[in-house]
Symmetry: C2
Subunit: 354 residues, 2 copies
Amino acid sequence: MMDSGSNLNSYIELVVPLIEEEMRHIVNNLHDDLAQSGFDVGQPDIFVTMLRYHLGFANADGTPVQVYSGKRLRPVLVLLCCEACGGTAGNALPAAAAIELMHNFSLIHDDIEDRDELRRGRATLWKLWGDAQAINSGDAMFTLAHLAMQAALSRGARAAHVLQALKVFDEAAMALTIGQHLDLSFEKRSDVSATEYMAMIKGKTGALTQAACAIGAILAGAPAARISALAGFGAWLGIAFQLQDDILGIWGDPAVTGKQDSDLSHHKKTLPVLYAAERNQQLRELYFRRTIPGADDLSLLRQLIEENEGREYTESAAHEAYVKSLQALGAAGIEGPAADVLYALAESLLGRSA
Amino acid sequence: MMDSGSNLNSYIELVVPLIEEEMRHIVNNLHDDLAQSGFDVGQPDIFVTMLRYHLGFANADGTPVQVYSGKRLRPVLVLLCCEACGGTAGNALPAAAAIELMHNFSLIHDDIEDRDELRRGRATLWKLWGDAQAINSGDAMFTLAHLAMQAALSRGARAAHVLQALKVFDEAAMALTIGQHLDLSFEKRSDVSATEYMAMIKGKTGALTQAACAIGAILAGAPAARISALAGFGAWLGIAFQLQDDILGIWGDPAVTGKQDSDLSHHKKTLPVLYAAERNQQLRELYFRRTIPGADDLSLLRQLIEENEGREYTESAAHEAYVKSLQALGAAGIEGPAADVLYALAESLLGRSA
């Protein structure tokens, strides 16, 4: 028997291409599907190219390409939770694609809202096509996510389960927008507390991993208590993941994380800084002014954050979230190969360096 | 027996407050509903105020108010089509609210994309809270629309019907974003044809009235042919409505339409101008340059449009769309009081002056 770490890798290698194929299928069939349903409004080339470009399926001129576009963690969680609850991963593929499309919708709009010019080394949609078209493209991606989820019906899922999944899906979207609302409001403030930060990432990161796990279980026809336990697992896993990201954003190796700049260069308000800033006035003054810090400033900032326990506190909060996610996973009472891979996945996320 | 026109007015006076109450209910219960579903991410005051402000339920400081917020034509169509197919309007109220929320989502994003500072005499969301928060608020409104539609399940609609309604709902949203994509792309071009314009409004205006009628029929459990006929009625009615709007935007009485500026002041590319500009070079040169026209220019523009049959052509296209909508309504083979009100509604829209 292989160890669970290599099982995890084989699983990911197996399902990620299937998830991407599902996503590609729904984007490419957009026009035909609409026309068949009596909404024949044509299909402007650039409209579809923008969606395919953002997903890493096309260059800006529409030529096909395959660009690495993230870990696809969320859709993998859908499939694993479905299988761990006795369902068939194949039937949950539309839902997995839907969760990843929803995540990508939020990235398109976040990039506009945060004025980010690059995403995974490529120009963002608004940078290439302007704000107006990019906002509209994000709306199309959000809509596509819903259509993808509804397609679960044609793969043998029961109508009641698909409706239940859609409800969780939109509740997560609402929590996501509340999280994003908080995040945007934080940018204008210099008094954000660690507690407020935790509420924000609960919405902005936890809600979607929570929905991913719950939806996998729902489509497998799992009982309510198991759905709820897996939802808790996903929520805490997402939070642990985000706090790890916060740590890597300051102390990670750029060669490994792929991030050119430290989060500190952009005055990002992440937990290590916010916690330490509550305890140190010099850090508050340095961090909340709007000048771009030089290399010397960056190492001073890092030092002040560490001296004021920002790193320690965040590591311990990440660990606590991780423990809670494992407890919830335990409470789900699932066993078998898919459950083993879920445990391995949780483990790999906490130890990650990228 | 009253004539159908006064039946229409009584019907509207009866149902619009119910639709608004349904909308108010779903916005106000947002936080509790989310918390109950395990997405307890708090409810920032401004987040909800922005939604309530846009819908005309609150001032910018959150104090309650009741502002006139449009004809609510689309949700009225949902209820009428449901009743005309033998369904109960009360059961379709969540769907009616959903259609109106979707319409309002598109208004929030359109206002950002078009840089419109006013909507029905009040400052737009982006003008008050900035682009980033307004984009996010539009996303929340879109999500709320989906949650509203799903709530039809708790009012006795069958799961299969709600799923079918949701599919039409998102197909309409996709057609809407395709229409908006075209509209935005037209702004940068000086060679938009009348044919291209018709494709654009099919998506931007026709899709949502199409969905409104189809969804009403679906929730009543109507047979496929009747759903399809009512969808056609809604699509052509929406197109007729838009073409009427184009005419009123140039030749309407500002005291009646409530629009301060003529569409011509903003170089809006509507059918009367596009049709005439295809036939007249002076009009093309005057209209597609970027200077703001004075009063003399405006009357010259109006004259050139009329001389080149832009008004005549648009009036005839509006009439044709109207006839097609009535033919489709006839093909639906519905009878009774709700059907009578539907006919009266169609009639009132073509003859309108505001």
